[in-house]
Symmetry: C3
Subunit: 485 residues, 3 copies
């Protein structure tokens, strides 16, 4: 701890938020690298290649509509909206950091998805005959998923880092994600369609560990900017609602064709509905006068979607989904009320968006729910064929049984946490280097650091504002007239 | 009337908007009830169960893509967006009630869809072999539809009721909806794919009757908060546009596979386009200086979608759709200009969002259009098979003829109105009880009652604001500099 | 030039923005004309008619899911969102023109799509057996595409024209569009799935030519209104993101079933991702202190989608898409920094939204990329069947070869530019007539001209505001209390 402390002190020099050379340099170099790597590695798969018609005949596929595109494209677009509008607008709640929220979210997602196509491609879609990664719609969805992990981490450090740091966070985040995903899904053979473990737990702990490494003892110097204003809260609700509405698509996007996608959508739909009611209940109950807190409505209502991520494709049953949502609404809201202040005060983890309560904790719950549901699976419920299909008991795992699968699920959970915490600490160390252009403690949560912000009349003190108004005589006169009426 | 009046007086005691115990209590108890009822009654249907593959083979279905999920999921997601973003943001136009608009919309929709799955399930999806309700994607769409009826009613009482009242309104609204829907669609055998009658007419009159029961003679005490501000009008346009764009999905979501969905989408697309032009025309014509009124653009542009709800799947013909939209744009806008003030003044119905002009009246028109189109149907236009499929002339209705179907449509219309008005009066009585925590007359349309609202600098009177600014010297100085340039 | 100048002077009389009679008149007359023309010409096609089931049997189509509706409806809805929310909100960035941006966008799109169904129908979907236009989902998508051309043109004249002028612009724009599209796609046999040439190049130059004809030397009199405010920039990001996210649907909406749609979506997805990084890089590099400019992020990030429009369905290869996006991000952002000021100062083209940099220039690049990619096509890459399908080498073009196709693509490009510039000059002449109710030079970019704008407290000068506050004593007192704490 002492070592960490002294490392921190070394890094806290005079801050300079000018990223005029570092940001363009990183963008150009990395994008050029992407082009080269894509040129070497990435090709279309059979379903997106002009030879699809021949492939169709070979495989005896009767119609173009059976191209995977038509199974997954609607879900893909919903997931895409969640990544860019959902995550982006959810973070616009701060009064003067909406540009950074939605703009940097845009930047790192756009970079991340390219890198994810490569990283995940090497692990999952490499065609060993020619050494190329063959991509189709499912790869795009997985790339968006991978990006989601990094955007979750962004939530923890929102307003406290520079865009260059975010790009570094994303580069390492995607890399770690692809590795842990490979270990969890392929080596351990855990199932995790909606990514409770792979995405949310990993992303959550990754972000929290980074935030812990970047702890700012004097962050209260930016306290004036740390709240919301009326309209920024409404903007954030755009993010919340698009996440909430499209979560069934998120959890069902890469599940099995047919009943797999169908069931995952239903379970997620129900879990989320249940979460809303318990979130409202707890928010009102724990506030003086019973008033609702926008922070809870914006965030905790989504916890149920996180927590059914793993089990959504299993026979969780409709009431099971409601129960998971019920519990997560309570736990997540209590997290905002009790755990977040505790973590900031005692654990030195400053979590701007409360990702611990929205992603990390519900993700862990989701992993546990998934393990239990898997362990409880039986042929009487799933049918023989259904059980094999749902849990993918084939190939080297053809002798797997549900109870052991439950153990594997739990093992996957642990891997996700380890990668999140471990990776976050290492990346956090890197991000503490005094070269990234991050803002000073009294300058956090302020778009002025990295954006040309339009000057508004409300920014000018009233005396000047009045003079200013006098110059626009028309406006003033019409107002006087209005007053007299 | 005298009786109603005195009942009103009894109920108007000192108002207390603290819902700290009632709101959590209702949420917890009802959500727990949902879990229990779902545990007893709700199961997956064949298409969302792991036995789907076996079912496919049995029924000789050649591909997973013929799972109903792929026919309806894109439409479902569009409807879902309409319910949560469309209705939610449409109501954000008030200057200080955006939290309540979008937040309570969220709450009651999330509760309503659970209760709707049960209520509609008992009537429509009960499997008599095991007494379970078997749900799939179509049930989710129907649940969203059912919720729409209650959200319409919310529009009439927006800003004047507590969240607890809204939950009660929803509980009864969903129940009434399921019953009237069963009577209209199953017993009377009316067709109503887009719900002109079942959703909009019922929801509209239900809300208006409740608003009439909750009449507040001194509502002008909240007059300062009853308008919009510039940005709240822009937020409301988000709601308008998502409703407008996705209405073709709404009207086609549960119509027949193939041509049914295709035709319903085309008709709705056209009717809505036509409505926009006549709305703009009337809005400009009836305003001094020809300026457009945002209230009309936000609301009346949608009336065409309501009015083709019933007939969208019939052979309304493209020009027929345009004519319906043409008329509804005119009628709805004139409604906002003349009927709403009349209703408030003489009928004592305060209709915050003007749902009479957007839902009730166009819904009735839609019912009439549906009845006429059905009565005019012929084999020469539909083809023999097409006529049977479109109007579902089979089973006990296999001897039905189009003219009689027209009569049944009209009968359905009457049932919807009766359920709306009757149900609204009863529920309105219940909501007048002085136990629900509704706001006082001078406190309506104010988020302060039920939400922790962030303090904004603009709320502070200028003298204080100036001092406040002086504390942030940097800001002030930079502004001075700017002024001098 | 002298002639144009004197014509301009004749037209610059006293401005009167009252459109109380002209706007309703145009709306009513045109909408009535639409109804009559639809009555004469427009009918459902086989896939949306009740005779679909018979047609299916005739054509041996095995399932309802092969109705074109299911191939294209999800893409259609995404395109629809781009037209109404994407374009509408992208233009809300001006501080006091958000109503006009989103409202007039709504109006002209709603009119334009009806007229487009007719114009495009006459050229492409006319059934010569009965003289009727048979419409289905693909016609709706094409109508939306056609509208996009006019909305692009609106971007150039945003804030400087009346709604009546916009309707005239749209009427002629749609007409010109349908003709040039017929020439380019049918006569010249160029391929242009995503409309780089047909939509963006044409729309861009059409708008620029109109803006040149409507040049206002004293536009700086409205300078106070020409910037953005903080929240208007956030609103504009809603438009940006929905355009960005759904662009893969735009470029793939009318490509071939199966691999065509699949590949177009992948290419667009990649090009757009790449554009974001180079836009950020250039924006930061060319700004003092390296701060990002919202104008660039809102607009230039989309240039990659425009530029792969033509080639998206070809074998552009994933790395090719990245390269196109890379270049367009740079060029478009530099366009905003250097070309737009140059055009305004020296070419007398005032381009409010910078459509030259977002549509015209990237559109031309897209045409060139398309021509090169087509010319480079070979059977070894596409396969024999793939080549024929992708480039539609059949019927009278069955002897076409890729190199010649490249030439045809380039020819198509020239036609698009000529139609844009030529049509824009003619329509610009018409719009200069002093009868359209356009605003005076000191009144541009102001919603007050055409909208009832709500009065806001911030509009009232501070002294009055203070008194105003004093009337709401509660508020003031609570603030005092807050201050003392």
């Amino acid at each position: 701890m002492g070592c960490v402390q002294s490392f921190r002190e070394i890094c806290d020099r005079q801050k300079n938020t000018n990223v005029r050379f570092s940001l363009p340099a990183v963008c150009f170099v990395w994008q050029t690298a992407m082009i080269i790597l894509f040129g070497i590695f990435i090709r279309y798969n059979e379903e997106s290649s002009p030879r699809w018609k021949e492939y169709r005949r070979e495989k005896n596929i009767s119609s173009d509509i059976e191209n995977d595109f038509y199974f997954r494209y609607p879900s893909f677009q919903d997931v895409h909206v969640m990544i860019f509008v959902g995550f982006g607008f959810l973070m616009t709640f701060l009064k003067r950091y909406s540009f950074g929220a939605v703009g940097f979210n845009f930047l790192i997602a756009a970079f991340g998805l390219q890198w994810a196509l490569l990283m995940q491609g090497w692990f999952h879609s490499l065609d060993y005959t020619d050494g190329k990664i063959k991509i189709g719609i499912e790869n795009l969805i997985n790339a968006d998923f991978c990006v989601a992990g990094c955007l979750i981490a962004y939530g923890a450090v929102l307003g406290k880092v520079s865009p260059v740091q975010l790009l570094v966070l994303t580069l390492f985040g995607i890399t770690l994600f692809a590795v842990e995903e490979y270990i969890i899904l392929d080596l351990i053979h855990a199932r995790d369609a909606g990514g409770s473990m792979v995405i949310h737990t990993f992303g959550g702990y990754y972000g929290l560990a980074i935030s812990w490494m970047l702890y700012r003892p004097n962050l209260d110097q930016s306290g004036r900017l740390q709240g919301s204003v009326y309209h920024s809260d409404v903007f954030a609700m755009i993010g919340t609602l698009f996440l909430w509405m499209f979560w069934p698509s998120f959890n069902s996007a890469i599940t099995d064709h047919g009943d797999g996608q169908h069931r995952a959508a239903i379970n997620t739909y129900l879990a989320l509905a249940s979460t809303v009611l318990t979130t409202v209940a707890i928010s009102s109950l724990f506030q003086k006068h019973g008033k609702l807190d926008m922070v809870h409505i914006q965030n905790s209502t989504l916890a149920g979607g996180v927590a059914v991520g793993t089990a959504a494709e299993f026979m969780l049953m409709p009431y099971g989904s409601l129960i998971v949502g019920f519990c997560c609404g309570i736990i997540s809201t209590l997290g905002y009320i009790y755990i977040s202040p505790f973590m900031e005060k005692y654990l030195k983890i400053q979590d701007t968006c409360g990702i611990h309560n929205l992603h990390a904790l519900p993700g862990v719950i989701g992993g546990i729910v998934g393990a239990i549901t898997a362990a409880a699976a039986s042929e009487s419920v799933y049918g023989h064929e259904g059980l094999l299909n749902t849990f993918d008991f084939e190939g080297e795992f053809k002798d797997m049984v549900p109870t052991r699968q439950g153990g594997h699920q739990a093992a996957g959970m642990c891997v996700a946490i380890c990668f999140g915490v471990g990776g976050g600490i290492i990346v956090g160390c890197i991000l503490r280097l005094p070269i990234w252009g991050d803002p000073a403690d009294d300058n956090c949560f302020d778009d002025e650091c990295y954006w040309e912000v339009p000057q508004e009349e409300a920014d000018i003190p009233p005396v000047l504002q009045y003079n200013n108004h006098m110059q626009n005589k028309d406006v003033v006169e019409s107002n006087f007239t209005m007053e007299q009426n």
